[in-house]
Subunit: 338 residues, 2 copies
């Protein structure tokens, strides 16, 4: 491995981090943090509702300010970095993307469930036509085999994606799981490959390093790890670790440390520690929306909700299948009783 | 790697964790936590002042209760696990060890600076004679080369140590640093080898896995990572990760999660997150006592204290050399000005 390999960092404090503060970023906070990240040399600065453009809703949680205000606040201060937005097909539309471009977005990450790359064909083509740097982003990648992920990555590439991301949205992967998936994609597509970690198993930094070892050149992180549940890869620590390993990121370590402690930490609602519920999501590899349902089903059948979560993970249940949880709990209780 | 390899876990919540609560454990807290760890199946339960037997002092911080009370509280509830104490030659004495045995200690970890194993010869021999399982524990192991550590480990072995530990006391190692050191020791000594991680670089779990890959079979951790600075390896997460990897620890995951969240988290003084000062200790590889001195010297010479810490790390300065910090800062300022 060359000691001077460059890693492109994407800071998603102002997108994934918004989950952890109930999408309550103010325009001033966005401007201050985006300016700090930009001055620190962060290459991609992602700003959107946690669920992407147009995510602000009763379902996903309302943002404190409009998307226009968010992007305006960021683009007014970003001088060198690339203002990036997230778009989930089915939530964000062409109009949202046009708005984002109008307010300064230069890149978009089009995200789908790991097995549904095909629903992004039009969005990726459209984004490319609009002149945006376009990322294809596979969420909950722990749920698919390396072979399946390669197939999906090839679809993204055929649609014109400039970068393909493998995202461990549930923080469920071990380093070897990351290496297998990233390595398989790197060996197949000709575009750069990225990795997005969550810290549910306390392995976010380790998994990011594993991704780099397997050939990834784009890595996500957030200041102080701010993000849903266990949070993301703590970007200022990642920058320091990459420095120690001899990688170039273009990011000034002390400046990004100061953004994390001086600007982000003070607005956090809670410290980004790995508590039991977040750990279980990663351990079982399930959706956060399953937690409450598992608790209810556990009470009904006198089970430990953690056993239900593990069973749901084994069955590879996905979001939208919450009504099946009672049935899974019933089967589990029957098996226990037998 | 066999899927059924056994890992011996040492929980040091009630020893290393005491640093993080200013050594204020009550007898009741010790009894409750030790009972929980024991019921969860933890093999070794370490209970001592953070700096070992007789550490309670003006210098190191006074414990809330006497060592006798601490050990009595723990041994009165431990049924299966091994009550373990820490002893630093120069602080703890033969009398302290006799007291610990009287109150139920069955194992001792004799800890020295990584280059000073020779000061432990009498203590290890004495502990073995008293019938204790005896660990030789090399602190701040990032400061010595694998070759030096092998030399020191051989000394411990020659004194009769049953297990030899490599401790990353400053949380300064990358996984490859851990592998190099543990691997070298494993290939040289015939006794089992252990690893003690700190999380300053957010790599405590990853480094513990690296140690196991390199042949370590004893691993330390604490509930919720409770420990000085960035804290230790979060033991309940480690248990889960080892489960996922197919290792046997004898520890019930849910039970230790419940100890962490139900008993340890409520008494923590602050969440165990990686803030900038703790990160810098790991990044620079220096003593925590250097922080304040570096801040003062930085103010005097108009420097960033972080640059001073990195320089101190490069010079491999050790505790007791704090008076040299002003000189290092002066040289740094002169170089900057030149």
């Amino acid at each position: 491995m060359s000691g001077t390999k460059s890693i492109h960092l994407v800071d998603t404090t102002l997108r994934d981090g918004s989950h952890a503060i109930s999408h309550q970023y103010t325009a001033e906070q966005i401007a201050t943090i985006a300016a700090g990240l930009d001055a620190a040399g962060v290459e991609y600065i992602e700003v959107s509702h946690g669920d992407g453009l147009a995510g602000s809703s009763i379902n996903y949680g309302r943002s404190a300010i409009s998307e226009e205000e968010m992007l305006k606040a960021a683009s007014s201060v970003i001088k060198k970095g690339t203002l990036t937005v997230l778009l989930l097909p089915g939530i964000g539309t062409q109009e949202d993307l046009e708005m984002a471009i109008h307010y300064g977005a230069k890149a978009v990450r089009v995200a789908t469930h790991v097995t549904e790359a095909d629903i992004a064909q039009q969005h990726i083509a459209m984004a490319k036509k609009m002149g945006l740097k376009t990322f294809g982003f596979l969420m909950l990648s722990h749920m698919a085999s390396p072979e399946k992920i390669v197939e999906q990555a090839k679809l993204f590439e055929s649609y014109g994606a400039d970068v393909i991301y493998v995202a461990d949205s549930a923080g469920a992967m071990l380093p070897e799981d990351v290496k297998a998936r990233i390595g398989a994609v790197v060996n197949t597509v000709s575009v750069p490959v990225g990795f997005h970690a969550h810290n549910n198993l306390t392995l976010a930094t380790a998994n990011s390093l594993a991704a780099i070892e397997a050939g990834a050149s784009y890595i996500d992180g957030t200041c102080r790890g701010l993000g849903a549940g266990a949070g993301n890869c703590q970007i200022e620590a990642l920058v320091g670790v990459l420095n120690k390993k001899g990688y170039q990121t273009g990011v000034d370590l002390y400046k990004i440390m100061d953004v994390a402690e001086g600007l982000v930490e003070p607005i956090m609602h809670r410290p980004q520690v790995v508590r039991n519920s977040a750990f279980m999501l990663g351990y079982a590899g399930v959706y956060s929306s399953f937690l409450l349902h598992a608790d209810r089903a556990a009470a009904k059948f006198n089970l430990d909700p953690r056993d239900i979560l593990v069973e749901l993970g084994n069955k590879k249940m996905v979001g939208g299948q919450e009504d099946m949880i009672i049935d899974v709990a019933y089967q589990l209780a029957k098996k226990r009783g037998a």
